[in-house]
């Protein structure tokens, strides 16, 4: 099952996604990147039904870039999140709803870091930490217990039965790739 997690710190947002692209029982790819870069400081993480994820995420990605080309400045994370939500909601009651669960993470110069949780019914919530997937059942309770808003980098640990994760961090300077976590790194 696919898994996404995001944690907001005082001046950064940390996001991680698993790397598996599966088709029923067969793992088609084990190094699949589920994060879509909307702008220099906004990442969209997308899981859900096979073709819908890429179609919807790329649609949002191209439109955010188009906004920047038309208007000369980028959308803020809050605006991007609301735009995404509006699109998802518009398609929800059409004949082709998109079954995708999203996390949108970004850093705004004025508002600081922000993490937005969105599900396939286009419910949007800004949250200090969020997760999607079966792994969410386990990690959310851990985060509930141990999360502190002033947590600094390096304080995160989680264990799941997925082979590897992509981890990225967004802060004032932009998006940074952290090391790709594999099961071996926890042993």
């Amino acid at each position: 099952m696919e898994y996404l997690i995001g944690i907001q710190g005082p001046d950064f947002v940390l996001v991680a996604a698993d790397n598996v692209a599966a088709s029923s029982i067969i793992q088609m790819k084990h190094d699949y990147d589920k994060m879509f870069k909307l702008s220099e400081k906004i990442l969209l993480l997308c899981v859900g039904e096979a073709g819908d994820t890429v179609q919807f995420a790329e649609y949002i990605q191209k439109n955010v870039q188009l906004y920047k080309m038309r208007n000369g400045y980028e959308l803020s994370p809050a605006a991007a999140a609301n735009f995404t939500r509006k699109n998802l909601a518009d398609y929800l009651r059409s004949r082709t709803p998109y079954h995708v669960n999203l996390l949108l993470a970004g850093y705004d110069e004025a508002d600081g870091p922000g993490l937005y949780y969105m599900d396939y019914l286009s419910a949007l919530a800004k949250a200090p930490f969020a997760a999607h997937g079966y792994g969410a059942f386990l990690t959310l309770s851990i985060l509930d217990r141990y999360y502190r808003p002033e947590m600094h980098r390096g304080g995160e640990r989680f264990i799941l039965n997925l082979p590897s994760f992509n981890v990225r961090l967004i802060d004032r300077e932009g998006i940074h790739d952290l090391e790709k976590l594999t099961l071996a790194s926890f042993l």
Partner: protein, 275 residues
């Protein structure tokens, strides 16, 4: 002149069922709304599901992988129709142009049709823009053309293989449910789990052409041995920077139960592509 207009049309207009009328016109800019107006969205699929006459599945084994000598694609040749072998000599690997080959899985008619549509669109792209579309672009084009039919029980599972040009060999997996993945090894069809187990063991970058061919044959053979819907012969295509070459179709009947290979490449005849 009719042909000039034809050349100017966008490829995405073809073959799609739309409720909304043509979306290529930009919304007018004279409204008081800010310039960030919602563009007309993704194409909608408006066709209701037509019940199929009988249940269909991907009764096939196709595989493709990249190695140092280019890309190798292999497939069985059995075309099945829920328990009946409709054709023991079907062709599941269809060349699209001299450097692009696609494998098919799922409904044969759908796959053949969409491969032809893709070949047409790639040729039009080449005429319009003066260069060939990359494999990734071709895969994306196919994926977008199939997107309106999602949920209508169209069944296309295909891979595109491209020989070494510009950026090296590449392999994409495209499926009618919208999946599009870039990778180095894929197998599609009901026999794919069996093929995967053989391929995962043996495929590495540094294989010679002969070793790669023998692994591909072994994988298809193993899959046809176990899977009822795969069988008969094996087709092999090898794609390099010079184009694709087709190995002679080989019957797997004589292989028998033992996996010892009587590899006799001297008897293979090789057809080279003519542009």
């Amino acid at each position: 002149m009719a042909s000039a207009e034809y050349l100017d049309e966008s490829p995405i207009e073809f073959g799609q069922i739309r409720v909304v009328q043509s979306s290529s016109a930009m919304p007018s800019q004279d409204s008081m709304e800010p310039t960030f107006s919602l563009p007309i969205g993704l194409p909608l699929s408006s066709s209701h599901s037509v019940p199929l006459p009988f249940p269909m599945s991907h009764g096939t084994t196709t595989l493709a992988f990249i190695f140092q000598g280019g890309v190798l694609a292999a497939a069985d040749t059995r075309s099945s129709c829920s328990g009946l072998v409709a054709c023991p000599a079907a062709q599941k690997i269809l060349p699209i142009h001299s450097h692009l080959v696609g494998t098919t899985s799922g409904t044969s008619a759908d796959c053949a049709l969409w491969k032809r549509i893709l070949a047409r669109e790639l040729r039009l792209y080449q005429l319009r823009h003066g260069r060939r579309l990359s494999t990734g672009g071709a895969a994306k084009l196919l994926s977008h053309m199939l997107q309106p039919f999602k949920g209508t029980e169209l069944s296309v599972g295909g891979q595109q293989c491209f020989g070494r040009e510009r950026s090296g060999p590449s392999l994409y997996y495209v499926c009618s449910d919208g999946t599009r993945l870039k990778g180095t090894l894929f197998s599609v069809g009901s026999g794919s789990p069996y093929a995967y187990s053989v391929l995962d063991q043996g495929v590495q970058w540094g294989l010679t052409v002969q070793e790669a061919v023998s692994i591909a044959r072994e994988a298809v053979f193993r899959a046809t041995y176990r899977d009822a819907y795969s069988g008969n012969c094996v087709d092999l295509y090898h794609i390099t920077s010079k184009g694709w070459t087709r190995r002679n179709r080989e019957d797997l009947k004589e292989e028998g139960v033992h996996p010892q290979w009587r590899v006799s490449f001297s008897t293979l005849t090789v057809e080279t592509a003519r542009e």
